[in-house]
Symmetry: C2
Subunit: 168 residues, 2 copies
C-alpha cells in the first residue's frame, strides 16, 4: 500500500467539496454547507485564501486537510491554522489522520510559523485525546465570538453615518 500526501489541484474542486460535505455530515453540521465548486475554485485556487492537501492510498483520496495562515502579534510571526481535517470512516484507525497532522506540523515549521492551531468540537473525545497525545494544549481561557448573517450586516450598516476612511 502506497500512502502519500499531496497538494490538491484546481481540477479537483468537486472532490474537495465532497470531502467538505462528508465532514459536515460527521460534525452534524450539514445544514451549514452552502459552499459550491465555483466558490472553492475562486477562493482557494485563484485568491489563495486557503490551501488543500489530499491523503492518498494507492492513488485513491482517503482524506483531506484544509489550512491557511493566521498571525500572532505576540510571536510576531504567522501561524498555521488547520480548518478541516478528515479521513473517510472506512480508512480510520490506521494513522492517516496523524500523518496529515505531522505533515502540516512540518510544513508549519518549514515556513517559520510560531504556532499550529485548530478547533475541535467539545464532544469529540476521541479527537481530543489524540490531539493531547501529540502535545497540543487547549486554549482554555479563550472563547471565539462570531458575527455573521443579519447581525454582521446590521453592525456594518452602523458605519453609514461615519466618515472613517475605508480601505479595500
Amino acid at each position: 500500500m502506497n500512502f502519500e500526501i499531496r497538494l490538491a489541484r484546481e481540477s479537483e474542486c468537486g472532490l474537495i467539496l465532497n470531502f467538505i460535505r462528508e465532514l459536515a455530515e460527521y460534525e452534524r453540521l450539514s445544514h451549514e454547507v452552502v459552499s459550491t465548486e465555483k466558490m472553492i475554485r475562486e477562493n482557494i485556487f485563484q485568491k489563495h485564501f486557503a490551501e488543500v492537501v489530499f491523503a492518498e492510498l494507492d492513488g485513491r483520496p482517503v482524506g483531506f486537510a484544509l489550512f491557511f495562515h493566521n498571525f500572532s502579534t505576540f510571536v510576531g510571526r504567522p501561524g498555521l491554522y488547520l480548518e478541516d481535517l478528515y479521513v473517510k470512516p472506512e480508512y480510520r484507525g490506521k494513522g492517516y489522520g496523524k500523518r496529515l497532522l505531522i505533515y502540516l506540523a512540518k510544513l508549519a515549521r518549514d515556513r517559520g510559523c510560531g504556532r499550529f492551531e485548530w478547533a475541535v468540537l467539545n464532544w469529540n473525545e476521541k479527537a481530543i485525546l489524540f490531539y493531547k497525545s501529540l502535545g497540543a494544549k487547549p486554549m482554555e481561557e479563550w472563547k471565539v465570538y462570531r458575527l455573521d448573517g443579519k447581525e454582521l450586516e446590521k453592525v456594518a450598516l452602523l458605519a453609514g453615518a461615519s466618515d472613517d476612511k475605508q480601505v479595500m
Copy 2:
C-alpha cells in the same frame, strides 16, 4: 475632536509594537511578547500576513486593530478574523472600540466575507457584554488546540521517516 480610522503605514512598525505591548500588559500576557519591529515589518508590510488600522483622535493614535482573513469551508468564502483590538485606557468608554469593530464589520461585508470573528479572554466580562450587545455569538461547542515550541518541533520531526511530498 476629529476621530478617524486609517491603515497603518510601514514607517509605523514601532507604534504597532508599542500597542501590542500595551495590549499584552492588559491581558496579563507580557511574558509572551517576543515580536520585534523587524518581524512586524517583514510579516505585515512585506509578506502581508495581517493588516493594521489605527484609531486617531486629532491625529493622535488612541487605539489599533490587527486582522487577517481566515476561510470557512462550509460557507466557501473568506472570513475576517480580528486578532487584536485595543484602545488606550485613558480613551475608553467613548465608543472608539465600537467604531473600530463597526469599521471592520463593514470592511468584512465589503470584501465579501461570510463571517467576522475574534477570541475573547473568558474573564473579560465587560468585553463579552459589549460583543453580545452587537449580536456576536460565542462558539460554545468549539475549543482551540495549539501546538507550539518544543511540542511543534517534536511532531514536525516525526515526518522525518515519511516520504510524503512536502509543499512549500
